[in-house]
Amino acid sequence: MAKVAPRNEMPRQDPKVRARNFNEVALGYSHELAVAEANRCLQCKKPTCIDGCPVQVRIPEFILALREGDMWGAVTALKDKNNLPAICGRVCPQETQCEASCVLGKKFEPVAIGRLERYVADWEIAQGVRTPTVAPPNGKSVAVIGSGPAGLTCAGDLAKMGYKVTIFESLHAPGGVLIYGIPEFRLPKHIVATEVKYVQSLGVEIKLNTVVGKLYTVDELLANGYDAVFLGTGAGLPMFMNIPGENYNGVYSANEFLTRVNLMKAYLFPEYDTPIMIGRRVAVIGAGNVAMDAARCALRLGADEVHIIYRRTKAEAPARAEELANAEEEGIQFHYLTTPVEVLGTEKGWVRGIRLQKQQLGEPDASGRPRPVPIPGSEYDMEVDMVIMALGTRPNPMVFTDTPDLERTKHGTVVANEETGRTKKPRVWAGGDIVTGAATVISAMGAGKRAAADIDAYLQNPDQPWWVENTK
């Protein structure tokens, strides 16, 4: 193999500056950088990168078009499989997906596929997004519950095939976790709005402020003319630790904290009405992407110190390496092998500290990761005035109201075939975090995409057995 140029870094805001603003951290490639990076692609005859992508983006094809200057060709190749490329280019864990299977990565650094995807998608947004041709209406309609990544992808694909699709969204803005969870500095909301508008331009109707399970049940949707229902309501229920003091003022779930900041724009209070507490010394419990988002938001709101408390070590932290690095660069302090045992409060019910206990790693647990084992007598107190619980989330059971035939696991996720998305209830599909528990945007999109294909296959030929076990 000939000498390969090093991977092109993407310009980013200086850590010291960005730690105090909500503007996007990563600034995107210039055209020159994008072409230089595209030129690193080997254009493999048998590309392996595509198999690393949950939605099977035709990666070499869009990169080739980009370096040949055919930008619309790049857009077409990219969006053929991916309805939301400007989002994926920003939040996908490419290092474990397409880039992990890039041939170049075996000896050198892989092609920066995610950065190129973002460049092409942002270029299209700057030009004005074009609406592709959509198949003529086929007379069938599908209800999609939830406008997050799974729902938007499923809806977009079905609309392209000629289905009349209605998305039901419980919040007042579409996007699900893209809008309430992921902060502005990682995924600007105007990008989400543009991608949502694109899905709407395909003919998808989005009904906001509509809580399925309350306003309609799934059975009512099926009875009222929808040929199929796709559940993409995610995993929106926060978890707490059930330790003493967890309800003191100043203890937030990461969901609440992030929803206030992102969806409600509490960082612009009082221009926006929704308030948020400004912690001076903040402890964030957990080390996933949500924990990093919460910690970095707390810092940007004006905290003097933000501490991540995690019971295992950095090696087991579920957050993307890039997000851990971003948080470290911005001055977030990490306390590994540490877990809270109590939140300490004032007489008036406000957080004044947190009691922590050191851990050591033991035998692997059910998740395959080493189990944290408490070290007796290692307790110590840390002075904080805000605690954010970022311990993971579970599916919200509301969508299952009065539908006992939607079988669920003991974790509250819905039972569904992984390849088709079919649940145990005929004509109801599901995909994304509601099936897998909290995972990634792109895996939810992959599930939405597979379900759309299967909804089409089934509705064209309903005379087939409904439930088939996973073949994998």
Binding site: E256, T259, R260, M277
Partner: protein
């Protein structure tokens, strides 16, 4: 999208709106609430459903102007539209034939107690209602409550109308009278519900209260509304809003209602400053 079709000033700071929301009105039940946003920069506030009309598709909400958002809401008029209205949320009241029930409504809590009293009576209960407010001006829906009650007791804190008493006094008297009371509903400010619960406790009469905690989404995803009931953390939005008042940790609820007092004050001052500037009478002279 969510048009205000009627407005009534029940008291200087208490307003009633009817809002056109046919799908919500179709499903709404006594005891449930909606989440409302006034405008695009607005916060999401929970308001209990005071009534609904499945025919006309209207939903009735009653609110007291206490902060920036409710004051802004109070300035809206017929024909104006709310930025959003989501519901019906929360569990409905469990309407059954219990026997004899007492329905206590305090202040703005008279509005949500009305459909509960109405439905309990329709289910065959003997309904004794007690309504009260700080003064005559703040009292409303006396006749409406009378129409759905077998007996109605009216009181004001200052004695400016009807009997001078807190609602807990007639509540205690009815319980002491020896009549068999099967269950009590009490809705109003948290402090009133707390004292109603304390009043009924020695009599061993189950008391249902409707908690008014701070919320964001109202669908169980944030946990802002968490309370402790019977020593367990519960979410008011999905596990409530109605709970057994004898099991509620009232001090925690009251503390949690104060989280944003400082910010609420700032927002209100800003709003009032801006509203004054916009008021044409200020420009004269």
């Amino acid at each position: 999208m969510y048009r205000i079709t009627a407005k009534e000033v029940l008291a200087p700071v208490t307003k009633l709106f009817k809002v056109y929301a046919p799908e919500v009105a179709r499903k709404a039940k006594a005891g449930q609430f909606v989440i409302v946003r006034v405008d695009e920069k607005g916060e999401r506030i929970p308001l209990t459903i005071a009534d609904y009309d499945r025919e006309s598709g209207e939903l009735t909400i009653v609110f007291q102007e206490v902060g920036k958002t409710t004051k802004q809401l109070g300035k809206m008029n017929v024909g104006d539209e709310l930025a959003s209205l989501t519901g019906p949320l929360g569990r409905p009241t469990e309407i059954e034939n219990y026997g004899t029930v007492i329905c206590v409504g305090g202040g703005v809590g008279i509005a949500p107690i009305y459909p509960i009293a109405r439905d309990l009576r329709a289910a065959g209960n003997t309904v004794i209602s007690i309504i009260g407010a700080r003064n005559k001006e703040l009292l409303f829906w006396e006749e409406k409550m009378r129409s759905v009650s077998d007996e109605l007791i009216v009181c004001t804190d200052d004695g400016s109308y009807a009997r001078k008493a807190l609602v807990t006094e007639p509540l205690k008297e009815v319980l002491e009278s020896g009549r068999k009371i099967d269950i009590v509903w009490a809705i109003g400010p948290a402090i009133m519900m707390k004292f109603c619960s304390l009043t009924t406790k020695p009599f061993g009469v189950k008391t249902i209260v409707s908690l008014n905690s701070i919320m964001v989404d109202g669908t169980g995803m944030c946990g802002a509304c968490r309370v402790e009931v019977g020593g367990k953390t519960r979410f008011v939005c999905v596990d409530g809003p109605e709970f057994d008042g004898h099991e509620v940790d009232w001090n925690l609820l009251l503390e949690r209602q104060r989280i944003y007092l400082e910010q609420e004050k700032r927002a209100l001052e800003k709003f009032e400053r801006e509203h004054q500037q916009a008021c044409p009478c200020e420009e004269v002279g």
